[in-house]
Symmetry: C2
Subunit: 248 residues, 2 copies
DNA sequence: GGCACAGTCACGCAGCGTCATCGTTT
DNA sequence: TAAACGATGACGCTGCGTGACTGTGC
């Protein structure tokens, strides 16, 4: 079953303009019939649902786009994650209700309140729990942005320089792949690798594990490493995982 | 206890820029020490809390301003109303969770879903319940906007014309105030009065009752009617209430 | 041939974030 | 005298709403 733009707008409860916009920014790009009319298909339906969930959780459209295009994106996991974030939102609302009740008592002089309690439920406490959780789950988007930030003034030379260093590291690494992924020498190199990420963004162990997964799951990444040596992607993945497991 | 802008920003969990903005648009205007620095006092604290509550409920700042400046505004009632709207929001979040669970089952082929069920919790159903509730509670703001709309092209003459008609109606009404507020003749005039509101906005019985309250509670309104005849504000209030009680 | 629906510009707006620049206070 | 805090512009951004005008399909 496929839908026209009006039909989809109706069943999804969004405006046609919104769908136009999502098309414009490349967030939800439908097929075109005869190169003219937009045609939304089954697969677009779940895609739009995801967009709406992320939007409900106040993610910027730009981030949503990156998340949904990320090869690591997993629909079912995303849905489960949404649930958790929604639960946190509910908690926030509950706290707001508590603040309301307290405030009512305060204006009736039944209790006294510290000034900051008036805003307890709005500010940092909970909102950070939410933000932290969201970042933990979708932090790679944050990393992307940091990366953009840190390299925005880079010259060609800067890039060339970085590439040189990477190549050097890589050759060195490949030269040691006769060792076990868990061997100290490899782990030392992996540690260097981990730290070199800081050139672009602040890594975390969680994210590093995600990166490891990418090395074997995303064909583009995999191809890049296999070029150096067959089996290298898997080798790095294992070494990185071991590294993560032994952190902290 | 009074606060500087930085202090308030910190305890309320908003940015300094936000407070600047609220000052600029006249939403929260602090005192100025020596005509220079902003000084936020006790009364500003509750005011800001209200702003944050309304903002949480996604009211535009413009509406918030009008609501908080409305003479009918009652802090305690507002707090209670916030609770109700927050409850509806929570319900919406619960429904979202249900949709998530269903979707998970669907992609695991455990159940089938109609396409529109994918969006059931986002769209109209609940969101309208929320919007309706909000409008019922704070609809006078909506009326104000309609009124702006409908009169934006009015000329001086249009206003003069309307005033003339009003005066005529008023004299007629006063000439009959020896009757009971509930008498048919008064009720007929009240009906005319009710309908004349349509010149500016679509009235509802709920709002009309609110208007009746204003006639006796808001000094500005009261003065306007008392000028015609002492006791008129109360008389109109009673007639209007009776009218509302017998509608539908 | 009318009406509903499709499309593409293009402008506008809220609610701040984010400098830049400057004075004041400690 | 520097650092922390205050003020006032002014420009920028996101996520669409809201026309205006045109083409297409029944």
């Amino acid at each position: 079953m496929s839908y026209t733009i009006n039909q989809l707008a109706k069943i999804a409860g969004v405006s046609v303009r919104t769908l136009h916009h999502y098309d414009d920014v490349g967030l939800l790009v439908p097929k075109r019939e005869d190169n003219k009319y937009r045609v939304y298909e089954e697969s677009d339906l779940l895609h739009l649902q995801q967009i709406l969930f992320f939007r409900e959780l106040e993610f910027p459209l730009d981030d949503i786009k990156r998340i949904l295009n990320d090869p690591r994106f997993n629909l079912e996991r995303a849905l489960v994650d949404h649930k958790k974030l929604i639960e946190i939102k509910k908690k926030r609302l509950n706290d707001l209700v508590k603040t309301i009740d307290k405030t009512i008592k305060k204006i009736n002089k039944q209790i006294t309140m510290k000034d900051e309690e008036l805003y307890g439920s709005f500010s940092k406490n909970e909102m950070n729990e939410y933000a932290e959780e969201a970042k933990k789950r979708w932090g790679h988007t944050e990393a992307y942005k940091q990366s953009q930030e840190r390299t925005k003034n880079w010259t060609q030379e800067d890039y060339a320089h970085f590439k040189e260093e990477s190549d050097r590291w890589m050759k060195n690494f490949v030269a040691h792949t006769h060792n076990d992924p868990q061997s100290p020498i490899i782990q030392t190199l992996i540690n260097e690798h981990y730290n070199s990420l800081r050139t672009f963004y602040e890594p975390s162990i969680e994210m590093y594990r995600g990166l490891a997964d990418m090395y074997i799951n995303d064909p583009r990444f995999k191809a890049y490493y296999e070029k150096y040596k067959v089996g290298l992607a898997q080798f790095m993945h294992d070494a990185m995982y071991y590294y993560c497991d032994n952190q902290k």
